[in-house]
């Protein structure tokens, strides 16, 4: 890859990363805490590319094309001469491999793929399609989160808003504190077989690659369209027994379509 093209690609990557971080789109892919790291990475990349163009622009063209002895690329993996650890080994013998004539790796073109993915596909936040690939069964929490405060709410009180990720676990594993109370959940619709549908929220700990679906079976209401975000209120219901475990459930009393929250994950 030519140096000027490389600088261009890097500017685009830096700009894309900063655009994601400033517009809030980054929340579709990573945790909110990543924002400042993304901004810093974008600034560093753009600064790198801009200085490169500025400094090289002042140099003579002949000097500019001189590769600064870069390691060769992996695509052509020529066996190394015997004294390969000698620092003084002639770089020119290998400097061309996979680098065109300009010392920069051709693999760099691959960096355009995520840019195109962002610009063309505009990947949405994980939704029902990702949730369908996972099991709705509530797995036993390794370190149960206390919901002792629930006891302060009398059983006839108005619905308590709780995260879907908590309800999906509490409703199965801390049933005693949950029984007889009303809850309000916000999530998207994941339809399943036989009219069953789930209020779903994806929990992420780092990025979408570790996204885990938390699903609560909604009873008593027909399924809204797939991926529709809804806020439901209702009564705790007996979990659905399945051969592989229990699925949290809620008897829905009210259902309201809502817009996707700023941070789609919990």
């Amino acid at each position: 890859m030519r140096r000027s093209v490389a600088a261009l690609v890097i500017v685009f990557i830096g700009a894309a990363v900063m655009e994601l971080a400033t517009s809030g789109t980054y929340l579709r892919y990573v945790k909110p805490g990543m924002r400042w790291m993304l901004l810093a990475a974008g600034v560093v990349l753009i600064a790198l590319a801009v200085t490169d163009v500025l400094v090289d622009g002042r140099k003579k063209p002949a000097q500019q094309e001189q590769p600064v002895a870069m390691p060769e690329d992996a695509w052509r993996d020529a066996p190394w001469p015997a004294g390969r650890r000698d620092e003084e080994i002639d770089h020119s013998a290998h400097a061309d491999h996979g680098h065109g004539h300009h010392g920069l790796p051709r693999t760099a073109w691959l960096l355009l793929i995520p840019i195109f993915a962002l610009l063309v596909i505009d990947p949405p936040a994980l939704g029902a399609d990702a949730a369908e690939r996972q099991s709705p069964v509530s797995s036993k929490p390794a370190n149960p989160k206390s919901n002792a405060w629930m006891a302060d709410n009398s059983q006839g009180a108005p619905p308590v808003a709780v995260p879907v990720t908590d309800y999906a676990i509490w409703a199965v594993w801390q049933q005693d504190t949950m029984k007889g109370r009303r809850y309000q959940l916000t999530g998207f619709v994941t339809p399943a077989k036989n009219g069953v549908w789930y209020v779903t929220r994806i929990g992420i700990t780092c990025c979408v690659a570790d996204g885990t679906a938390y699903m609560v079976e909604a009873r008593g209401q027909a399924a809204p369209p797939k991926n529709q975000w809804v806020t439901v209120t209702g009564l705790w219901a007996e979990p659905t027994k399945r051969p592989d475990g229990d699925v949290a459930a809620l008897t829905v009393e009210t259902l309201k379509p809502v817009a996707m929250p700023v941070n789609p994950y919990e």
Binding site: S4, I13, A40, L111
Partner: protein, 339 residues
């Protein structure tokens, strides 16, 4: 992308500066037009092309892994370029014991100082090698840094509250694995013909800042390209492999250790987050989850791509299985001892 640029690159030979800069500006203009064009009209042109749920989920995973790794990759290439440009080779000669077998444990332990996930450690260890650090020690550092740094150990402690033995087991196992592989490297002929030594990038006539700039530019483009391959692989496996198959193997200790090890390879979760994922795999024994946390930072599809790019594919096809086997064995032993 490639079809647009490659012909221009192949077509002209470096036989004249005038022709060079024309070709260069053609490639530049073509890339610029393509990028700006996609930015402006990409979505309109391709409406209706990428609507299938699976493809969109894949794209989200792919972009997610890339974006997540990007700051760490930038940090890694920044550090490796600084090591290349500003730290004299004599520093490492003084800091590490001269005998390679003794340098390995020192390098393993110094992995504590690089706070980041595994994407940062590949370029840094390559820079260490090019600065004259014995490859065995650099490999030990490569394997220990992403697993035993304070950020990772803290997140492990948070993910397993009230179970400090998990944190200790993780640190001990990862340290042991990195040392064993460093020594194994020394025993098995130090790479022979299949290891691509990262070169010294000190151009003797260039200033320190120029070296820094060139090294960083090169390392970023290089590692970035391989990161994209790794992210695509991780996204594909994430979409294709259903997580429900895990539930059937949780009962058998040996099988569950192997399966969670493989899962760590396939999912390519960054080492700062894998403890939380491990904690959520509660149907598995602690030993199996330890294997997940030990394997994840040192072998995964994204790392294999990065290592193939940095040290050569022949290195990667030997190193990854060796690391995997040693990591599983060590996890079983430490799990049996501590957990």
């Amino acid at each position: 992308m490639r079809p647009v640029s490659t012909p221009t690159e192949v077509a002209e030979k470096p036989d004249g500066t005038a022709k060079e800069s024309t070709g260069s500006s053609v490639a530049f203009t073509a890339t610029l037009i393509l990028l700006v064009g996609t930015a402006l009209f990409g979505r309109r042109l391709f409406t209706g092309w990428f609507t299938a749920g699976g493809i969109r989920t894949w794209a989200t995973m792919f972009v997610g892994v890339t974006i997540q790794a990007m700051p760490f990759l930038v940090l890694g290439v920044l550090l490796s370029a600084a090591l290349t440009a500003f730290v004299p080779a004599s520093f490492f000669a003084k800091a590490l014991p001269r005998h390679p077998a003794l340098a390995v444990p020192v390098a393993s332990a110094s992995g504590v100082v690089l706070p980041g996930c595994e994407c940062a450690s590949v370029p840094v260890s390559a820079a260490l090698m090019s600065r004259g650090v014995t490859p065995a020690a650099a490999i030990a550092f490569l394997l220990s840094a992403p697993a035993i740094n304070p950020v990772v150990l803290t997140s492990t402690a948070v993910a397993f509250p009230g179970k400090p033995q998990v944190v200790i087991a993780r640190a001990v196992t990862s340290l042991a694995v990195s040392m064993v592989l460093g020594w194994l490297w020394l025993l098995t002929g130090k790479g022979g013909s299949w290891f691509k030594m990262p070169k010294n990038r000190h151009a003797h006539d260039a200033g320190k800042f120029d070296v820094f700039r060139s090294a960083m530019l090169h390392d970023f483009l290089h590692a970035g390209g391989f990161l994209v391959i790794g992210a695509a692989a991780a996204a594909t496996l994430n979409v294709v492999v259903p997580r429900t198959w895990l539930d059937h193997v949780a009962g058998n200790l040996l099988l569950s250790v192997v399966i969670l090890g493989l899962l760590a390879v396939l999912l390519a979760i960054c080492s700062e987050a894998d403890a939380f994922v491990a904690a959520s795999l509660s149907q598995f024994s602690l030993t199996a989850r330890l294997a997940f946390m030990v394997v994840g930072p040192i072998v995964d599809v994204k790392l294999i791509a990065l290592q193939a790019g940095t040290f050569g594919p022949k290195f990667a096809v030997r190193f990854a299985p060796a690391t995997f086997v040693v990591a599983l064995t060590a996890s079983l032993l430490v799990g049996w001892w501590l957990l």
